[in-house]
């Protein structure tokens, strides 16, 4: 199993203790195309943050590709994120003063890949996503769909074990949304990339092959 969550609990202590995840147990196999659905406040974002090693959990175990992800130092966390996880965000989160190709290169920069090599790889990925001509453009010169495709290229470039997408179509119009979802489905099919998509949109969820519903911190698949 690629992802193995065992009885994950998470409580936020902002004034009043808030028990967000109440014993999540979940397994995801390599190559799956999964959506996590839930209303706002259901705990789906917290679950995504834990899966993405952006946040830690209180009790339970999180095994990612045979590695126990628990009590990591900041540096280890950064290293695992870099090598094992690709992120796609609702608001794209591209760095505004870097060109498309520079944005795609960035994860490789943090792996210490040489300048020339990472540039070549980034160009290759942009080409595959049909953005070769936009390589030297800045994010504010591109449409939402193009920006999201740059973000997808950035997520793919390190060959991560999983791709975590947080409302990837949330900021896109319906036509572009369909295109982006088709692209993700195609990448899953052709590249065998494990995709986990967090959404509240049933049409997005319907594109995936498995839907995990979360409500009040409990999974009701």
């Amino acid at each position: 199993m690629l992802i193995d969550l065992k009885d994950i609990n998470k409580t936020y202590n902002n004034g009043q203790p808030l028990h967000v995840l109440k014993g999540i147990t979940l397994g995801i196999e390599a190559g799956e195309f999964v959506s996590i659905m839930g209303a706002s406040g259901s705990g789906k974002s917290t679950l995504l943050n834990i899966l993405g090693i952006l946040d830690n959990y209180d009790t339970g175990e999180y095994w990612l590709d045979g590695t126990l992800i628990k009590n990591l130092s900041e540096r280890q966390g950064a290293d695992y994120r870099n090598r094992m996880i690709g992120f796609i965000f609702q608001s794209f989160n591209l760095i505004s003063f870097k060109t498309a190709v520079e944005n795609v290169e960035l994860p490789l920069f943090y792996q210490g890949v040489s300048r020339r090599k990472r540039h070549a790889m980034a160009m290759e990925y942009l080409d595959r996503l049909g953005l070769k001509d936009w390589a030297s453009h800045y994010p504010n010169e591109m449409s939402g769909g193009q920006k999201q495709r740059v973000a997808i290229a950035r997520a793919l470039i390190t060959h991560p074990r999983i791709i975590l997408a947080d409302e990837p179509t949330g900021a896109l119009d319906s036509k572009t949304s369909v295109e982006v979802m088709d692209l993700l489905a195609q990448l899953n099919r052709e590249e065998k990339v494990t995709m986990i998509i967090v959404t509240h949109d049933p049409t997005v969820a319907s594109k995936t092959r498995r839907t995990i519903r979360i409500k009040d911190g409990i999974i009701e698949e």
Binding site: N49, L54, R75, A78, R81, L94, I95, F97, Y110
Partner: protein
């Protein structure tokens, strides 16, 4: 390295004005530091130039009055150095330290005439070694030699100022050499040389052999002053110990308290120059401190602006961390930017400061003011060397790192989930 540089450049380029304004404070700080150190060097060099005419390893000894009663004799007794002291000074007691000894006797109020011109002066009876101790510069002819002394020759070395007077204002000193001058007592002296009056010689006088003066004026056994050169005393403590040892032996000869510092007076030029060095070093340290504090305000400015930069880039740092930037890489990024800003503007200030020092050197470096007929130079070579430039470079790197430390720590602490939510 190139990537880091590029990242820093991108960041700085986006905030040109504010970087320049911040950088100005750093440039100003280093400019002040360099100019201050330049002034310090100028003062040091001018002191060296003005003092340079006297040999440093010389002690001057003369008699005073006792300050305490000793051996049944009252205080306030006058002590006069004599030839016995000279013999002791030359003797085995001090052979380990003292090299050459030159006692001096003098006769003042002597009227000397040459042709129609005449003037009043002091005759000083000295030894040949005297010229070395006072670095007497000979403009024409020669100084006294051992033969002059042993044969009690009636020869004289005239000061350039007096020679000019005797020659009716002419500075062609050679004309006087080989001529005879007469004293009011009717003694004729052969001029063998002209010595150059300088800052070190306050009352210009005529030098005659010690033995000659002693014979003519029947000076007896008293001497005005004993000068001697010495070696092997490096530290202040060693010098003081030797002075005490010397004074004790001479005091004992005169039945004065061995520790009495007013009965036998010792003036050690080497110790004075040590003190001068110490003073100059203190001045230098003071200037560094003032310069560093000026620079400090620049560093605080850089630190401040870097904090704002980090605040503005919180979201970006969140993205970077999410895609795998380690805290260390962000710390490096911010410190590199701070060092780049301080380094660049610091160098600008340093170069401007050095340029100003060079200009001042060109304009004022060779200026001198006439004080009592002597040329005294105010500021000599007010420039700083490569050593200071290297020190300043190191300083800038340290300063930049310090300036970037807190902002870098803030950048490293950015939590991706909060940063990404912040948009």
């Amino acid at each position: 390295m190139r990537d880091l540089f590029q990242e820093v450049w991108e960041s700085v380029r986006r905030n040109k004005l504010r970087t320049a304004l911040t950088g100005f404070a750093v440039a100003w700080g280093l400019f002040m530091l360099i100019v201050l150190l330049g002034i310090g060097n100028g003062l040091r060099h001018s002191t060296e130039a003005n003092m340079g005419d006297i040999s440093a390893n010389v002690m001057e000894v003369w008699g005073g009055r006792t300050s305490v009663a000793y051996d049944g004799l009252k205080e306030g007794r006058r002590i006069r150095t004599d030839e016995g002291d000279v013999t002791t000074t030359k003797g085995p007691d001090f052979a380990d330290v003292i090299d050459e000894v030159s006692p001096t006797i003098s006769q003042s109020g002597i009227r000397v005439s040459y042709g129609k011109r005449s003037l009043s002066t002091t005759l000083q009876g000295v030894y040949p070694a005297y010229s070395k101790m006072y670095k007497t510069q000979i403009l024409a002819g020669r100084f006294l030699n051992d033969k002059d002394l042993s044969e009690r020759r009636k020869v004289v070395v005239v000061s350039s100022r007096d020679a000019e007077n005797l020659l009716d204002g002419s500075t062609d000193y050679a004309k006087l050499v080989g001529k005879r001058v007469r004293t009011d007592a009717g003694i004729s002296l052969l001029v063998i040389g002209i010595w150059k009056v300088d800052r070190a010689s306050m009352g210009a006088s005529f030098y005659v052999p010690y033995t000659t003066l002693k014979a003519i004026y029947a000076k007896g056994r008293y001497v005005d002053e004993i000068d001697f050169t010495f070696h092997g005393l490096a530290s202040e403590e060693e010098n003081e110990a030797f002075e005490n040892r010397y004074r004790a032996i001479l005091n004992t000869r005169h039945r004065a308290d061995p520790a009495d510092v007013t009965s036998i007076r010792v003036f050690n030029r080497f110790r004075q120059s040590l003190m001068m060095d110490k003073g100059m070093n203190l001045l230098n340290i003071g200037l560094w401190i003032v310069g560093l504090f000026t620079l400090l305000s620049g560093i605080v400015g850089v630190s401040n602006i870097m904090l704002i930069t980090v605040k503005e880039r919180t979201h970006e740092f969140g993205i970077r961390k999410a895609i795998g930037a380690s805290p260390g890489s962000l710390i490096k990024l911010i410190i590199a930017e701070a060092v780049a800003i301080t380094g660049f503007f610091g160098y600008l200030g340093m170069i401007t400061g050095m340029a100003l020092c060079e200009v001042v050197n060109l304009l004022l470096g060779n200026n001198s003011t006439e004080v009592m007929g002597e040329q005294v130079r105010g500021i000599v070579d007010p420039t700083v060397g490569v050593d200071v430039a290297l020190e300043a470079t190191l300083l800038l790197i340290v300063a930049g790192t310090i300036a970037g430390l807190i902002p870098a720590w803030k950048a490293a602490r950015v939590r991706p989930i909060e940063a990404l939510r912040a948009d």
